[in-house]
Amino acid sequence: MTGNGSRHGMTLAEKVLARVSGLDHVVPGQIIEGRVDLAMMHEQGAQTVGPFHDMGAKKVWDPERVVIAIDHWVPASTEGAAVLHRILRKFAAEQSLPHFYDVGNHGICHQILAENGWVVPGDLCVGTDSHTNMLGAVGSVSAGIGPTEMAAVLALGRLWLKVPPTIRIRVRGELGRGVTAKDLVLRVLGEVKTTGATYKSVEFSGPTIESLSMPERFTICNMTTEMGAKCGMVAPDAKTFEYLQKTAKHAMHPLYADPDADYEQTIDIDVTGMPPMVACPYSPDNVRPMPDVAREHIKVDQVFLGSCTNARIEDIREAAVLMKGQKVHHGVRFIVSPASTSIYSQCLREGLIEVFTEAGAVFTNSSCSACFGGNMGILSPEEVCASSSNRNFPGRMGAKEARIYLMSPAATVATAIRGEITDPREMM
C-alpha cells in the first residue's frame, strides 16, 4: 500500500475481490472476507455435511446460491459412491436446496454451472473441485476449496481470501488449422509450469483471447488449475453477455482491469505458426510440440475424449468430423464422455453418437469418466493413454506406471484412428 494517494489501479481479480468484500480498493497479500455469490458441491460435498453440523450451523445461508452437481460416479458405480450420493440427497432435502443436478439431469459440475448461467461476471464462486477455475472465463473469481471450508461457506455465506498477485498473459496471432484453445493453454503451461502461478490470478487478454468462443475460454481457464493458480480469468465482452443472456441466474457486475493495474508479471505469447501441443508424462507442464512427439510413433492402448476441460458440444462436433467414416485402430479403446446430459442429448440429435459407435468407440453417459482413475476407463501398469483431460500425474488414471499424454480433442481422434500419437493436421 502506498498510502500517498498514488495507489495503483486494480487487476480484474482485485476488482472482483474488492466488490465482494465491499471495499473500494484491495492490494495483493491483503486478507479479505468475501461474500460468496455461488457455492458448488459435487460428491466431495458429502464431507461437508459432518463439519456443517459440528459447527452448530442450522440452515444454509442462501439455498438459491447453492448448486449440487454429482459427477464423479454417475450413476453410482460403487457402494461408497452410493453412500456419498445419499448423504447429499438427504442434506439437500433437509435444507430445502432446490438446485440439485441428480442422475438423469447431471453433468460435470463446472459444465453444469456454465451452461445454466450459475456464475456471471463479477461473481465470487467457490466449489469443492479444483477445476472451479474454469468459471473465471465469464469474468468471475472462481476457485476450488475443500469440504470443511465449504461447510463454513454454507453456514456463513463468506470466506477469507488472500488477494492474489496477478500474472497477465497477453496472446496475439491466429491459431492455425487444427490448433485449438487446448494447444494454447498447454503452450502457456509449458512456460508458466505447474508452480508458476501458485496462489496467483492468471488474467488472459489480447486479440487471440478476444477471438475465442466461450467454450474455448472455459478450456483455457480450466487449466490454470494446473499452473497452481487461485483463479484464471477473461474479462467479459459481447460473447460473454450473449452466452449468459438466456441463462444468467443473478445480476451481472461486469468488471474490467484498470489501465494502470499492477501486474506481478506479463507474459506475451504469439501463437502465429504454433503447432498442436502435447503434455507428456508425468506432468501437465512437460509440454512438447506435437510434430516432435508424433515422430516417436508412441503406441496407445486407450484414448479418452472427455472431462471438464474438453468435452463440450463444440469439442465433440470437431472430433466427429475427423471420426466420420473412419475406424478406431485395432486394439485401441476409445472412450468418449460428454460433459453434461444436455450435451449428450445434443450429440444424439445431431447424429454424433452414431459416428463414434460406428467407428468402434464407446460413447458413455456424461460424467468425469476416465479422467480421475476412480470410476471407469482405468489404466493398468505399462498402458499408454492419449487424453483430452487435464492431468497426467503418476496414477491419475489408474496404475502409477501408466503413461498419459494430454492433447486436444482433434488430436485424440487422430490418435485413436492411427493407434499411435498423431498430429491431427495429417488427417485434415
Binding site: 466431495q44 459447527m55 450451523a57 475443500g146 470443511t148 501458485t198 497452481g228 476412480g374 492431468r391
Partner: protein, 170 residues
C-alpha cells in the same frame, strides 16, 4: 496448537500431488482411519506402516498440488502427522490442511537441510525450523495472525462453532 513442535522427519521431493497422497480409487472413503492405511501409497509407500504420531513431513516445492481432495490432509492428520513443512505448497492443500488444524508451514530452502529420520524442531510464532542433528536453522515469516488463530482453535470447525455460538448468545 503447540508453540514448539518437535518430531522425526520424513522427506519427500517436489510436486507431490494429491493423487500421490491418496489415490483416486479411495475418494469414496470417508472414514479418516480407513484413509490413513492408504496414505502415500504412490509417493512414499513405506510411510503408512512406518509412521509414528508426531512425525513431521518435509517436502520440496508445490506439495499437495493437483486435485482439491481434502482426503489428503485428513489422512495425514489421522495417521498423526504433527506438521508439514515444505519449500512451497499448492494453495488448496494449504487451506485444507490449516482448516483441519494441521500446522502447515512454508519455509524456502527447508528440504535441503533435512535427511530422512532427522529430528526437527519448529517454533510456530518464533519462525524457525531447526535440524536438531546438524544444528542447521532456517528462519521463516510466521503465519498471519488469522491463520495462527485458526490453528489455535484446532481448525475451522471449532472457529466457526465459536463464532456461531457467539452470534446466538449476542
Amino acid at each position: 496448537m503447540e508453540e514448539i513442535i518437535r518430531g522425526r522427519v520424513w522427506t519427500l521431493g517436489d510436486d507431490v500431488d494429491t493423487d500421490g497422497i491418496i489415490s483416486g480409487k479411495y475418494l469414496t472413503v470417508i472414514d479418516p482411519n480407513e484413509l490413513k492405511k492408504h496414505v502415500f501409497e504412490i509417493a512414499l509407500p513405506e510411510f503408512a506402516k512406518g509412521a509414528r504420531p508426531g512425525d513431521i513431513l518435509v517436502a520440496g516445492v508445490n506439495f499437495g498440488c493437483g486435485s482439491s481432495r481434502e482426503h489428503a490432509p485428513q489422512a495425514l492428520r489421522a495417521i498423526g502427522v504433527g506438521a508439514i513443512v515444505a519449500d512451497t505448497f499448492a494453495r488448496i492443500f494449504f487451506r485444507n490442511s490449516i482448516n483441519l488444524g494441521l500446522p502447515t508451514i512454508e519455509v524456502r530452502g527447508v528440504r535441503a537441510i533435512f535427511e530422512n529420520g532427522d529430528p526437527a524442531r519448529i517454533e510456530m510464532r518464533g519462525g524457525t525450523v531447526t535440524n536438531e542433528r546438524t544444528g542447521t536453522q532456517i528462519r521463516f515469516p510466521p503465519l498471519p495472525t488469522h491463520l495462527l488463530e485458526l490453528l489455535d482453535a484446532g481448525g475451522l470447525v471449532e472457529k466457526v462453532r465459536r463464532e456461531l455460538a457467539g452470534q446466538a448468545g449476542a
